[in-house]
């Protein structure tokens, strides 16, 4: 099958969206099997397309991508083409999106059972999968922007799925508006590049940027604006505030949209535009600093969260920050590898937390859980593996991708970036172990909850086991042998790269500190919280009350934004509303109407209805005109 047909991947779920949205409520079980069938079809189709793509792909001859497009419209001498562009980056995204989407669809059958608007959940899920797949294969920025907004809408709809709850609608609005702030930047960036290059095609823009055909100022402004869009979508500081609140949505949605796929759209966009950003002044340094700041700040916040999903959300933001560090270090390989392994691990963690929530009858506070590993063996074990994988222990998936990241950061920026990135990984180890211990081990904190806890059905544990296997094994694709065995030209660094492929070799000088840092994180976390005992951590919090207060309140980001909105935005809107009410409405609109009405009420009196008056007016007028004519002639 020709890889150009990859648009079918998106077309199938898109068609299913309309079917389920309109007919779902009349179908038995809300048509959930249609959703699974659609994402399953995309999943299978991807593996049908992959060998053909690999046949075309040839790193030696620099044949790296397949593109196909159709003419969309022609305006003057500007021709707009829409099409697909499939390269290794897109292939990795396809693999992540189709796999996680299928698992989440299956999991949702169990998790969403008995919820109101069951069919609508599956419908929007299909729309999301279609838009996300469209996003990663768009060959031009316009199509990318359309898909970008579509996934944003799906995110909005699904965060606000329980719209009877006020907190859910607030969270949906917050997510939408916060990302919109970045999206405005993205739109401006797209237009800036269009103005300079007269095309929306990404490859042509890259070509012109590398050829120095875009002036430096425009290149920098356009890059910064586009990166703002990426920061908004990928919840980088200072836009990170929406992602933890987005946990109001159903947990499968958190797994699919807010951990594995949509939030990495910003990483994807930056990876796609990296050749352009690399040419712009200081752009890579900015990306690295944003990524490191986010990774460290959110890791700190995650220490003091007690909601399982909130901890996972902050950890997601932190890992997205590390992906940006990889991109800032110029390594598309490390970023995409990290993205893929993180997607599998974090999807597993979120689905695991969903399993916990359902198994304990809607409890997601650590303070009420504890000791449920025995009651939920499959969930507990897979969660345990995922915790260690996220902490970066070898040979689990994220160790290998973080190793790539460390190597890239050290090569590009030197030891400071490496040290800060390792610090973030170290922190991840601590709070992830804290999360696992407090949820699954020790004495139950709430005996009532513990008593009613039971393992979830196979439709939910199945995806957990599948993702657990991926979380263990997916890191191994870094090796040449594993890659060739799977039919790829080599390990992931020989498949996904920006300039030249390189063969992965273990660098012990880097691998050993990396293992030690991960182990230290896990060990410290285990030491502080062993046996679900809070005495040590309470002592720590009491020793540094101000620091604890700071991270407990998430560095007061929300309060600062609220203050700015209250004083700045509402103050300005008060001024404009005053102007609108008194100047535009009362003076402009009502004023002109009143003048006209008053003039009419006076002038109507001239219409007497009496014939002699009119005749006299005509006579006087004619005589007046005659006199005026005489006078003018002199």
């Amino acid at each position: 099958m020709n890889p150009e047909y990859s648009w079918l991947l998106a077309a199938i779920p898109a068609a299913m969206f309309f079917v389920i949205a309109f007919a779902g409520r009349y179908l038995p079980r809300g048509g959930d099997y249609l959703g699974v069938a659609a994402t399953g079809a995309s999943f299978v189709l991807f593996f049908a397309l992959l060998p053909d793509f690999l046949d075309v792909f040839d790193a030696e001859a620099h044949v790296l991508a397949v593109a196909g497009s159709i003419e969309w419209s022609t305006i003057g001498d500007f021709e707009l083409r829409m099409g697909v562009f499939v390269d290794p980056v897109t292939v990795v995204m396809f693999a992540v999106v189709t796999t996680v989407a299928l698992m989440v669809n299956i999991f949702s059958i169990g998790y969403m059972k008995g919820e109101p608007r069951y069919y609508w959940f599956f419908a929007v899920l299909q729309l999301f999968v279609a838009s996300m797949l469209m996003l990663v294969m768009a060959d031009n920025l316009l199509l990318l922007y359309i898909s970008w907004e579509l996934v944003g809408v799906c995110s909005f709809l699904l965060i606000g799925f329980y719209w009877e709850k006020r907190s859910a609608t607030e969270a949906a609005k917050k997510a939408f508006i916060t990302t919109r702030v970045g999206d405005v930047g993205l739109l401006i960036g797209i237009l800036v590049f269009w103005k300079e290059t007269n095309t929306f095609n990404i490859q042509e823009i890259i070509h012109m940027a590398e050829g120095g055909q875009i002036s430096e100022t425009y290149l920098f402004v356009g890059s910064i604006c586009m990166f703002l869009g990426a920061m908004g979508k990928s919840a980088q500081v200072p836009f990170h505030v929406w992602l933890p609140d987005a946990m109001e949505g159903p947990t499968p949605v958190s797994a699919l949209i807010h951990a594995a796929t949509m939030v990495v759209a910003g990483v994807y966009l930056t990876a796609r535009m990296l050749p352009v950003f690399a040419v712009a002044d200081h752009m890579l340094l900015i990306i690295t600093i944003v990524g490191l700041t986010t990774a460290l700040l959110t890791s700190a916040i995650a220490f003091a969260q007690t909601d399982i999903k909130k901890v996972l959300a902050y950890s997601t933001v932190g890992k997205l920050g590390l992906m940006f560090v990889a991109l800032g270090s110029g390594s598309v390989t490390a970023a995409m590898f990290l993205l893929m392994t993180h997607a599998f691990v974090k999807a597993l963690l979120f689905l695991g937390s969903g399993s916990v929530i359902l198994g304990t009858h809607h409890n997601q506070e650590m303070d009420k859980l504890g000791g449920i590993w025995k009651k939920m063996p499959i969930t507990g074990t897979t969660f345990f593996v995922a915790t260690l994988a996220l902490a970066g222990l070898p040979p689990l998936a994220m160790f290998w991708s973080e190793d790539e990241l460390f190597a890239a950061a050290k090569d590009e920026w030197g030891l400071w970036a490496l040290a800060l990135a390792m610090l973030a990984v170290f922190a991840t180890g601590i709070f992830m172990v804290r999360l696992f211990i407090r949820t699954f081990t020790g004495q139950p904190r709430d005996p009532h909850v513990y008593e009613h806890t039971r393992e979830t059905p196979a439709v939910m544990t199945g995806p957990l086991v599948f993702l657990c296997v991926l979380s263990v094994l997916s890191g191994l694709v870094v090796f040449h042998g594993v890659g060739t065995a799977l039919g790829f030209p080599g390990g992931i660094s020989e498949f996904v790269f920006q300039h030249e492929p390189h063969r992965y070799e273990i660098d012990w000088a880097l691998a050993i500190p990396s293992v030690l840092v991960a182990l230290a994180g896990v060990a410290i976390g285990a030491f502080v919280y062993w046996g679900n005992d809070l005495r040590r951590s309470t002592a720590l919090a009491n020793a540094q009350p101000r620091a604890y207060d700071l991270i407990r309140n998430k560095f007061y980001f929300d309060e600062a934004y609220q203050y700015v909105i209250d004083r700045g935005v509402l103050g300005f809107s008060y001024l404009t509303s005053w102007f609108d009410r008194y100047v535009v409405n009362d003076t402009g609109v009502n004023g002109s109407a009143e003048v006209t009405g008053y003039a009419g009420s006076v002038l109507k009196l001239f219409q007497t209805g009496r014939l002699p008056n009119y005749a006299m007016a005509i006579a006087v007028g004619v005589i007046g005109l005659a006199l005026a004519g005489l006078w003018l002639r002199g």
């Binding site: 109507k604 007497t608 209805g609 009496r610 014939l611 002699p612 005749a615 006299m616 006579a619």
Partner: protein, 102 residues
């Protein structure tokens, strides 16, 4: 030969009488008659100018014929309105027909 000014003065007197009649009279029929007077004053002007100034001596006469035709049509229409007014109000006084106003 009678000078042109005599015709013009006669025409002006007739026209002024017509204007006075239109302004001063209240009976619709009399107003119509005054209008006819004004029209005839104009026709007289046309014919006089044609006889004295036009080499062909014909243009003004044709205008006069047109004016008579228009006057006949106008009277036909106006008298019909007056008859309707009289039927409805039992008067031909135009002051009575003053309801077409605000």
């Amino acid at each position: 030969m009678v000078p042109l000014e005599n015709y013009l003065v006669l025409s002006a007197i007739l026209f002024s009488l017509g204007v006075y009649g239109v302004l001063a009279r209240r009976n619709a029929v009399l107003i119509l008659m005054s209008v006819e007077l004004m029209l005839n004053a104009v026709s007289l002007n046309f014919v006089a100018f044609a006889a004295y100034l036009d080499p062909d001596k014909i243009t003004g006469a044709i205008f006069a014929i047109f004016v008579i035709t228009v006057a006949a049509a106008e009277v036909g229409l106006a008298l019909a309105i007056v008859i309707r007014l009289f039927r409805n109000r039992a008067t031909s006084n135009v002051d009575e027909a003053a309801t077409m106003k605000w």
